[in-house]
Symmetry: none
Subunit: 190 residues, 4 copies
Amino acid sequence: MDPDARRAAILLAARAVFARKGYHKAGIADIVSEVGVARGTFYRYFESKRDVFQQILQSMMAEVVSVVVPIDVAGEIPPQVFANLDRLIRAITAEDVCRVLFSEALGIDEEADDALRAFYGQALGRIEAALQTGQGLGIVQGGDVRLKARCLLGLIKEPVVQASIDGADLDADQLVTEIHQLLQHGLLRV
Amino acid sequence: MDPDARRAAILLAARAVFARKGYHKAGIADIVSEVGVARGTFYRYFESKRDVFQQILQSMMAEVVSVVVPIDVAGEIPPQVFANLDRLIRAITAEDVCRVLFSEALGIDEEADDALRAFYGQALGRIEAALQTGQGLGIVQGGDVRLKARCLLGLIKEPVVQASIDGADLDADQLVTEIHQLLQHGLLRV
Amino acid sequence: MDPDARRAAILLAARAVFARKGYHKAGIADIVSEVGVARGTFYRYFESKRDVFQQILQSMMAEVVSVVVPIDVAGEIPPQVFANLDRLIRAITAEDVCRVLFSEALGIDEEADDALRAFYGQALGRIEAALQTGQGLGIVQGGDVRLKARCLLGLIKEPVVQASIDGADLDADQLVTEIHQLLQHGLLRV
Amino acid sequence: MDPDARRAAILLAARAVFARKGYHKAGIADIVSEVGVARGTFYRYFESKRDVFQQILQSMMAEVVSVVVPIDVAGEIPPQVFANLDRLIRAITAEDVCRVLFSEALGIDEEADDALRAFYGQALGRIEAALQTGQGLGIVQGGDVRLKARCLLGLIKEPVVQASIDGADLDADQLVTEIHQLLQHGLLRV
DNA sequence: CATGAATGAGCTTTCATTCAT
DNA sequence: TATGAATGAAAGCTCATTCAT
């Protein structure tokens, strides 16, 4: 088995184990028995339990970030926004991403916390910038973009997180539609 | 010191410790040294570390639930909604509530997970019911109330969680205003 | 059992175990099973395996140093020298002192190495000073006192170390006599 | 590369590594990376870490033993003694010999301990025999030759060991002179 | 009832050794 | 024959929990 494949296999197993048991209940024993290698093998590929976790975190964050593409203001904007939304929801709906990124990541250690802060900072920064541009174009409501960005993030994240907590499946299309409507008309009828 | 007071003191200390260090990094040693009692005393009042945590969780959930009062459909509705919103945000903005309830609670054990599921189930159930009533009264947009409820929860929760992650303060009034606007007009200008 | 006694018991057991098996082959398991306490108990009294070892080393060095008393130049010198010699040999003849101090101490870690260097530095410094005084008084041969001190140390140490290696007993009196003769007349007959 | 040369190269590297880091801190990884061969190759030439160490020990002991040549009683004795002394000191002054033979060798395992005991037994036996001969010739002081031999060994060994501990250089000539003087006249002036 | 020393299961990590390529 | 990835026993250490005082 070539090193890259093995490394990937361990990473995959670790992802599954962390998603299933959470960081603290997951033991190296769980991971290696899942891959079918010896304990020592794990340490040939990763420095420590924290190390694998960090790498999984990083790759998950990168995956999530990568699906959001900058909006081309020359083109039609709403379709681009909703395409992003759609991809984003599908990205974070993956069972393991959701559990690891949204429930387990915080509080492991300073390094992971920093990475997570950076991730949220980057994500929120992008959303804020987009909203600001939107305000300039007159297509986004006025007000504090900082808070708006956070609300928007929650709007997207929470249904996914709740579905994960419930162990229920999530209809991404329906969610996109619902969020779409919310963004355009709000929740209340005036 | 009478038992109830002592029990309360331990509970309070544990809350602070869990909020400060998180469930896993918090040790019984931290809690007892905070209260100034011996380790053994802790176990006279609580069965285990998980036990205190559960009780704290329960009381936090009760606090949060209690601030949301049913809406009197006979009276004017929007002010009641926003009063609820305001109280809710203030309730979950408390540093310890936010950290414990939203970051630490999930994944401790099955029992806590169940409690949390029940909490979210109850909270979302209430919101859903209110939205359904609203739809009947024609003051809430049509569509899936289940998803709407989850979005609404996220809308409220996320800015608070992010402020906690950033270690930043949150202007509750401003947040209420922002959410108010979002609920009424959405994020986009049509 | 009071803490001081328990601490002393663990220290004693550790001393015996280190002397018997050497630092590296000695496990915490050996030590605690020797005292009859649980693993955790060990760590209530000592921070780590290195920590006990360091403390044992320190106490052994202190024991050895303490038996050598400064020479009163006002009084008769040779008896004082030989009394020191006698006490010193008896001190380092103790089986565990010899093994731990002379065979195991070097190379555990930087801290222990420094402590040992300091110990030898102090011991040799004292001997050098005494020799220098002796040269001033005309009772010690001329020449490099630094080297003389080291030779003298070896003269004393080696027979003890060899006895320990052989597992043989050592007649301290006879050794003192022999060293006495060597110091006064050398090994060769002119 | 022919097997003998490779074997020699590994032996040399292992010597250097053991001298530099000590037996326990030295890893097979250190040795093989020093030679530039793979781990597996090491095990084609040596059975185990202990095995290389033993062989190094044996060769060091042989080197040291070889420099001491029997004294020809027909010829002039003192020059022969001092020539032996001189060669011996130079032999054990080699940094790696000193560290490996005098600090690391004891306590690795039973086999090494036996080898070391045999080495010291042989060395001391020779010295004793020489001293006995010397006593017969009337050029060595009377008394227990067993102890005398051990003292003599320490006299030689200790300055070398101390220099190694200090990381200082040793002037072999000066040491020979000093020991010479000590053997002839003792340390004290009568 | 309060105490806090004692407990020991269980964790992560290391590294000499093996063996398929 | 050389390789180096894989192995897994064994080590040190932690900490929630217990229980004699």
